[in-house]
């Protein structure tokens, strides 16, 4: 039995894609797949530990948690790196993706492919944050992801990581003034009801790495390995389309429910976060250069 685990609830594109993966892989390999959604097998970091230890076999995970194991994955979230989702996909499906897979294998994990998590935007309880100055001093919740923390530190905000499950209470309690997430996540957790001011900053791209335990992967026959890769690619194509479409359909839906949208001054934000590139280029000069080139920034 193959356990495919992730943290999303029904209705989220990740859930639908995981269901698809289970169906495809089972049909192709003849093995039974146990689809375990909604973080029933632990949160993202715990699922990575479990996959590496062979407790579960595959997880559709998050870029932030994954970057705590393979720091290079975090570079995909460099501020304003990809101009749109298709550019990001092209980079991930190419050499950069292969390089990340090589690094992951050192930590006992095998990357099967990259699904999508969308581009992130900021929501605030009481105001729009169209310019970098509006973010200065803002108490903002981020995922436990070093890149996101670095971006908001560069902007002079006051970021702190908190588990996703505790976010609504923390926002209601005024521990944070706002948070940042793709629209899909904001909508599915009804965060726009607590933080109705949505600024379309698009400050950061996030993938959903689909990761297997290396020991399980190595024990598979070549045919079964191909089944796993194909299932990841096929379910991923569907998932990416869903994310792309949902970003367009969600905005009017959220506006109807009282969310107030505004555009951000992207150029000003880009200038204010340029130092993040310099900081990361110190540790990863080649990869930062390669990403910039691949994304068409240079």
């Amino acid at each position: 039995e193959v356990i495919f685990a992730h943290g999303s609830n029904p209705g989220n594109p990740r859930y639908t894609a995981a269901e698809k993966w289970a169906e495809l892989y089972a049909a192709c390999s003849g093995e039974e797949v146990n689809h375990a959604p909604a973080a029933t097998m632990g949160d993202d970091a715990e699922m990575l530990t479990s996959a590496a230890a062979g407790v579960i076999q595959v997880t559709a995970n998050s870029q932030g948690a994954m970057s705590q194991v393979v720091p290079e994955v975090g570079l995909l979230g460099l501020p304003f790196l990809f101009k749109d989702l298709p550019t990001a996909w092209e980079v991930l499906d190419g050499e950069v993706g292969e390089m990340i897979d090589t690094r992951a294998q050192n930590a006992g994990l095998k990357v099967l492919g990259f699904w999508d998590n969308g581009i992130r935007n900021i929501t605030h309880v009481s105001k729009h944050v169209a310019a970098p100055e509006d973010v200065k001093g803002m108490k903002i919740r981020t995922p436990p992801d070093p890149m996101t923390l670095a971006i908001f530190e560069a902007l002079g905000a006051n970021p702190a990581p908190l588990a996703w499950s505790e976010l609504p209470t923390a926002l209601q309690s005024g521990v944070f003034e706002g948070q940042e997430n793709p629209l899909t996540n904001i909508y599915s957790a009804k965060l726009h009801e607590i933080t109705p001011y949505v600024t379309m900053t698009g400050h950061k791209y996030e993938s959903t790495p689909v990761v297997a335990g290396l020991s399980w992967w190595s024990g598979l026959s070549e045919d079964a390995q191909k089944c796993a890769l194909d299932a990841t690619a096929e379910a991923g194509e569907m998932q990416r389309q869903m994310v792309l479409e949902s970003d367009e359909t969600l905005r009017p839906k959220m506006e109807e429910e009282g969310a107030k949208f505004a555009e951000a001054d992207t150029a000003a934000f880009q200038a204010a976060t340029a130092s993040v590139y310099d900081d990361y280029a110190e540790d990863y000069p080649d990869l930062v250069a390669a990403l910039k080139a691949a994304a068409g920034l240079e």
Binding site: A36, D43, A53, V55, Q172, S173
Partner: protein, 418 residues
């Protein structure tokens, strides 16, 4: 995997293996028989310790320890005596009023049963109360503590069911007061029939005006806890930290009975209690893994909804299951085992998870004073030095009160959902 897990768990439990180890033994055997890696146990054991809200448990325990270890405990009994000592069976009523007030600083019924029991049961016996009756009042009324915020079982339920701890705390106030009032009436009736003595506080109001004033800041702690949560000043974990700071301030500046030795002891006691509770939480998280991997909650919920159909019958059935489980298992363990499964069932019949939480904690708290395993029952009987049988006979009217409150809370959502 589920069947061997359950058999081995109950077998080890019956042999008096500690609950957490009985759970781990059942899970280990089930995983091994199924050829699954045992490493999952380590991962699931660790998981509950990664939760920020879980941190509220040691801090609320510590706040209660600090508050009750000094003069406040004495003041609390005096104030209760000032209020109700003049009634027939006054010392019995003091036990009830004391539990309601104590509930506001403590999240644990067992802490209440031993603190108030040691203070009041010997006095009641000296005044001619039958030992069984004195122990019965103490063991039943101490459970009010887990309904009036703060409450450790409600925090646990909130975590396993993803329900707001703030909503649960607020929802607990009314049922807690109803239970207190019901028991108050019960003691009044019994005291009149048995002609139990009045025990007014010597010196009356004038002699204790000072203490009343001094105890006010400590008595305001539940209002402080609820207020900070309700008005969104801090998260439950931060409120528990503020409650510790508040207890330190009140006993340090007002009562001036704070010592380094006392603080150390309060911290060690809080750590032991946290360890004993958390290891069960951690072990039941491994059971949850096995149940989830086999989709037991979903299938059970579907089966219940399919076979029983009538929502009110389902609620009644849930209550019966909880009463039986609560008779055997300790409160936190039972909340963690039943919580996830029952939430799925409640969802299927459209019952609010906050209401279910109160029904569950109220129901399982009755188990604290029922045989065969009842913690407040054992503690109270030991303090009163009477047999369990005598206490249970005296407890019969208290069971009736608790079941009436339980039925009201089960079938009137307005009592818990505001």
């Amino acid at each position: 995997m589920t069947a061997p897990l359950i058999w081995i768990f109950f077998a080890l439990l019956a042999l008096s293996v500690p609950v957490a180890h009985a759970m781990l033994g059942g899970v280990a055997a089930a995983l091994w028989l199924d050829g699954k890696p045992l490493a999952v146990m380590v991962q699931r054991l660790y998981s509950p310790t990664q939760s920020f809200p879980m941190l509220a448990i040691p801090f609320f325990i510590l706040a209660g320890n600090l508050m009750m270890s000094g003069k406040f405990g004495v003041f609390l009994v005096n104030i209760a005596q000032l209020l109700v000592g003049n009634l027939k069976g006054g010392m019995g009523q003091v036990s009830i009023i004391g539990s309601v007030m104590f509930g506001g600083v403590s999240g644990s019924a067992v802490a209440d049963a031993s603190a108030l029991g040691n203070a009041l049961i010997p006095v009641q016996k000296a005044q001619g109360y039958p030992g069984g009756f004195a122990a019965a009042i103490n063991s039943a009324s101490s459970t009010v503590s887990v309904l009036i915020p703060p409450s450790i079982p409600l925090i646990l339920y909130g975590l396993v069911s993803s329900t707001s701890i703030i909503d649960l705390f607020i929802a607990g106030i009314l049922p807690g007061i109803m239970l207190g009032v019901g028991m108050f009436a019960m003691v009044w009736i019994v005291a009149n029939r048995r002609d139990l003595p009045r025990s007014p506080l010597a010196g009356g109001f004038t002699a204790f005006r000072g203490q009343l004033l001094m105890a006010t800041p400590a008595l305001l702690m539940p209002i402080f806890v609820i207020g900070t949560l309700r008005f969104g000043i801090a998260t439950p974990t931060e409120v528990s930290v503020l409650a510790v700071a508040y207890a330190l301030l009140v006993s340090g500046l007002l009562y001036r009975d704070l010592t380094w030795g006392g603080i150390w002891q309060a911290c060690v006691d809080a750590a032991v209690m946290t360890g004993a509770v958390m290891i069960i939480i951690m072990a039941s998280s491994t059971i949850q893994w096995v149940l989830t991997a086999e989709r037991v909650p979903q299938e059970l919920a579907a089966w219940v909804a399919e076979t029983i159909r009538q929502p009110w019958l389902i609620i009644l059935a849930l209550n019966l299951v909880m009463l039986v489980v609560g008779a055997f298992l300790d409160l936190p363990a039972a909340v963690l085992l039943l919580g996830p499964i029952f939430v799925t069932i409640a969802q299927a019949i459209g019952m609010d998870p906050v209401q279910l939480g109160l029904v569950m904690v109220l129901n399982l708290s009755i188990g604290l004073y029922t045989p065969p395993v009842g913690t407040t029952l054992f503690i109270s009987a030991a303090i009163a030095q009477v047999g369990i049988g005598a206490v249970i006979r005296a407890l019969l009217p208290f069971y009736a009160v608790a079941v009436v409150v339980l039925l009201l809370v089960s079938f009137i959502p307005a009592l818990t959902i505001h």
